[in-house]
């Protein structure tokens, strides 16, 4: 399981997370929601080591990963699908997927990929999940549509056989119909028995797909609970749209 204990993170002078504690278990989808600037993305970046925590602890299956380098954290099975997808635009779809398994091919990730055949099989598994990627196999990732790039980014992370999958705003900038497809995919990811943390601005959709949810406000967790309960709570709307205005 993934445990986050009293974590604080700052960017320069700005405290982006203030004593955040939470936990997540394999096979469940946990949504982190909250208004812009609440610290959702920072929380994911802190877990993946891109923005190291200033204080507190992050434990993966009892092993402390706080302040390890991002590379080491990836080796331990934490894979992040970054905001705005960040595919390697100048590489082909297949190469993007291959690089997703980089740590496993270098023998540092689990299970290691020792030969081309294993790699090929793994890529085929991703293609089975995202048939469109197989059609685009040789195309440069930069030429893909937004939705396809999002699928590629998710597929690329799955190539690392994550124990923890961090999804950062997967619906950002996508057309509403594509958003539906992406959430469909996220729903299916439950089957791979990983810990999934989902950061979403689309709170209603995120709570619908998730098992549990946490609400962040200015770097703090202000609400937590089963997703269905949170979805029904009117306080959520206030967290997004503020107290009653004039």
């Amino acid at each position: 399981m993934l445990e986050i204990k009293n974590v604080s993170t700052s960017y320069g002078h700005v405290e982006a997370l203030r004593g955040v504690s939470m936990a997540a278990h394999p096979g469940e989808i946990v949504s982190l929601i909250g208004a812009n600037g609440a610290g959702k993305t920072t929380l994911l970046n802190t877990i993946s080591g891109m923005t190291p925590a200033r204080s507190g602890q992050i434990l993966l299956n009892g092993v402390e990963i706080t302040r390890l380098s991002p590379e080491k954290i990836v080796n331990l099975g934490v894979c992040q699908v970054p905001e705005r997808r960040q595919v390697f635009a100048t590489l082909s779809v297949r190469d993007n997927l291959t690089l997703g398994a980089y740590t496993r091919m270098r023998g540092r990730g689990e299970p290691p990929i020792k030969d081309r055949k294993t790699l090929h099989l793994d890529i085929e598994t991703i293609y089975a999940m995202f048939p469109i990627l197989k059609q685009r196999e040789k195309q440069l990732a930069g030429t893909l549509s937004g939705g396809e790039q999002q699928m590629l980014a998710i597929g690329r992370s799955l190539m690392g056989r994550p124990k923890v999958l961090l999804l950062d705003e997967p619906s950002l900038g996508l057309a509403p119909l594509i958003v539906r497809d992406i959430f469909e995919i996220i729903n299916c990811l439950r089957e791979i028995d990983t810990i999934i943390l989902l950061v979403e601005q689309n709170a209603r959709a995120a709570l619908r797909v998730a098992d549990r949810g946490y609400v962040l406000e200015t770097g703090r967790i202000v609400m937590a609970g089963p997703a269905a309960d949170l979805a029904a709570d009117p306080a959520i709307q206030q967290a997004y749209l503020g107290k009653q205005g004039r």
């Binding site: 891109m50 990836v74 960040q86 190469d95 997703g100 540092r108 690392g160």
Partner: protein
């Protein structure tokens, strides 16, 4: 000599010199793409490659004659040593000077690589002095004739080595996992890090490849031109101009840029003024910068720059 022959002659000479510029430009591009750094010490790698190869090949008096070296290895072995040691120098440069300052501003980084160029140049002066050095041609024999123009055998070597290196580099970057990893780092260093790729390891690799390629350039050219300790700066600048002409982050562009710069210089020296041959590349630089940088190049920057490497 007929006008046509003359033109072919200049063209061939230009392509030969241009190949060298192309290799140095490739060195620039490799480092720039992965790290966002322009290495002002790039040309020094060519000097070191050549000098080390020469020292391994023939009896040499180093440190103003205070240190006699008589290895007298066969040419291929000497060349290999030149490349290997220069590569180590490149790696050392990264580890000792670039990596510790990788969060520094562009201004600081420029000054650091300039400092590195000075150290390397000064060390070369101390070791090898101010004398010009030369290697024998790789394969002696009469020059080739192409449409009446003369192409020396060494020029063939230069062009062939450049071509072979290009093929190898193309294969490396596009067909091997390590090559693709480097490309990924150049493309999006942040995402690369999220794949478990260490940007610093890749930067080290880039410095290694870049210094090796530039050292080879220095070695293949030294049979046809004398090498002196202070050639590094001019070579750096020409390589940089070639890289800029090609768009700075584009390896194929760098090669084209190098060869066109060589050809332009060759014609300029032939028809305008040989004294101002070296000015040609800078006039090209000013024109390219004025025309293109106002537009897309400046805004894009390299991946490394964006990541603050």
């Amino acid at each position: 000599m007929s006008l046509q022959t003359e033109i072919i002659q200049f063209l061939l000479a230009g392509i030969t010199v241009g190949s060298i510029y192309a290799l140095i430009a490739l060195g620039f591009v490799t480092i720039y793409n992965v790290t966002g750094i322009i290495n002002f010490a790039q040309g020094e790698f060519a000097v070191y490659g050549a000098f080390i190869a020469i020292t391994a090949f023939q009896k040499s008096r180093l440190l103003s004659g205070n240190w006699q070296v008589a290895l007298e290895w066969p040419l291929p072995a000497a060349a290999l040593v030149g490349v290997v040691i220069t590569t180590l120098v490149g790696i050392l440069l990264y580890r000792l000077a670039i990596q510790p300052a990788r969060r520094a501003s562009i201004l600081s980084m420029i000054i650091i690589t300039i400092g590195a160029a000075f150290v390397m140049r000064g060390a070369a002066l101390l070791l090898w002095g101010t004398d010009p050095y030369r290697l024998p041609v790789f394969t002696p024999g009469p020059p080739l004739k192409i449409f009446g123009a003369i192409l020396t055998r060494q020029s063939v070597w230069v062009i062939a080595v450049t071509a072979v290196l290009l093929v190898i580099l193309y294969w490396f970057f596009n067909r091997t996992l390590t090559g693709k990893t480097l490309q990924a780092c150049a493309d999006n260093p942040k995402a690369a890090q999220l794949m478990g790729i260490s940007p610093q390891r890749m930067a080290l690799l880039a410095f290694g490849i870049s210094s090796a390629v530039t050292a080879i350039a220095g070695i293949v050219i030294v049979p046809s031109t004398f090498m002196t300790y202070d050639r590094g700066l001019t070579l750096s600048l020409k390589g940089f101009v070639a890289a800029i002409v090609g768009g700075l982050s584009n390896p194929a562009g760098a090669v084209l840029g190098g060869i066109s710069l060589g050809v332009l210089e060759s014609f300029g020296a032939g028809y305008l003024s040989s004294g101002y041959k070296d000015a040609i590349s800078f006039i090209v630089l000013f024109i390219v910068l004025a025309v293109r940088l106002g537009g897309f190049l400046r805004r894009r920057g390299s991946a490394g720059e964006r990541a603050g490497l």
